[in-house]
């Protein structure tokens, strides 16, 4: 991780990674809203977050990598006659929520970097 590393940064970095990945899964679902037989996929969000933070603590110092979350088929959604179970409402809501989480994390990362810079300049 290098010289610049705080628990907050690890958490936020993990949040950005997981939300970016989830957005990709959601967009796949949305792209296939009319595909016969397509099953909605999603990640275990909470687990993915903890995994991302945990893996960043033992990584080789590369800012990326870590574990890729697993996208599994969802159970319990209503299935249409052609076998497709994508709910436009669910995916639409999730799209907005994920985007907001990403946005929040990005802003907080920015703030964290500002704090670190201030500490470097004022302290020592």
């Amino acid at each position: 991780m290098g010289l610049i590393d705080t628990p907050m940064l690890r958490v936020l970095s993990g949040s950005l990674d997981v939300n970016a990945f989830r957005q990709r899964v959601i967009s796949s679902n949305l792209a296939n809203v009319d595909t016969p037989g397509y099953r909605t996929r999603d990640i275990d969000f909470h687990r993915a977050l903890t995994d991302a933070v945990a893996s960043s603590q033992e990584e080789d110092g590369n800012g990326g990598g870590g574990l890729t979350p697993v996208a599994r088929k969802l159970q319990g959604l209503i299935e249409r006659p052609d076998g497709n179970n994508v709910s436009a409402d669910r995916e639409g809501l999730l799209l907005a929520a994920t985007q907001l989480r990403f946005s929040l994390s990005a802003q907080l990362v920015k703030d964290e970097f500002h704090k670190i810079l201030s500490a470097i300049r004022e302290g020592a």
Binding site: L3, G63, G64, I120
Partner: protein
């Protein structure tokens, strides 16, 4: 030469010089503390160099479209920048301390 190495060129010289001046003051008289200090410094400098290289790699990944996320690149760049800032501060403090010691000698 990497700008990081250029800026920190003075650093390796300092810990060596301090013990040969008679070892007064608080900058570490004996060879052992000074030695470990310079070793820590060297490690830190290597770390700064490393973070610069890493950042360049991730940014290249984004620009060449090989699947790197933009946020990863941005964070890597910020970390490299801040590492560099940190080292600059350390360098400045060390130079100040060295000059302080020099003044004490005369």
């Amino acid at each position: 030469m990497n700008p990081v190495s250029r800026a920190l060129r003075i650093l390796p010289a300092l810990p060596e010089l301090v013990p040969t001046r008679g070892g007064g003051g608080g900058t570490g008289a004996a060879g052992a503390p000074a030695g470990s200090f310079s070793a820590t410094l060297r490690d830190a400098m290597a770390e700064v160099d490393g973070s610069q290289t890493r950042a360049e790699g991730v940014v290249r990944g984004v620009l060449e479209g090989t699947g790197e996320d933009v946020h990863k690149a941005v964070i890597a760049v910020e970390k490299a920048d801040l590492s560099f800032q940190l080292m600059l501060q350390v360098r400045n403090k060390l130079i100040a301390a060295y000059q302080e010691v020099e003044r004490l000698q005369f």
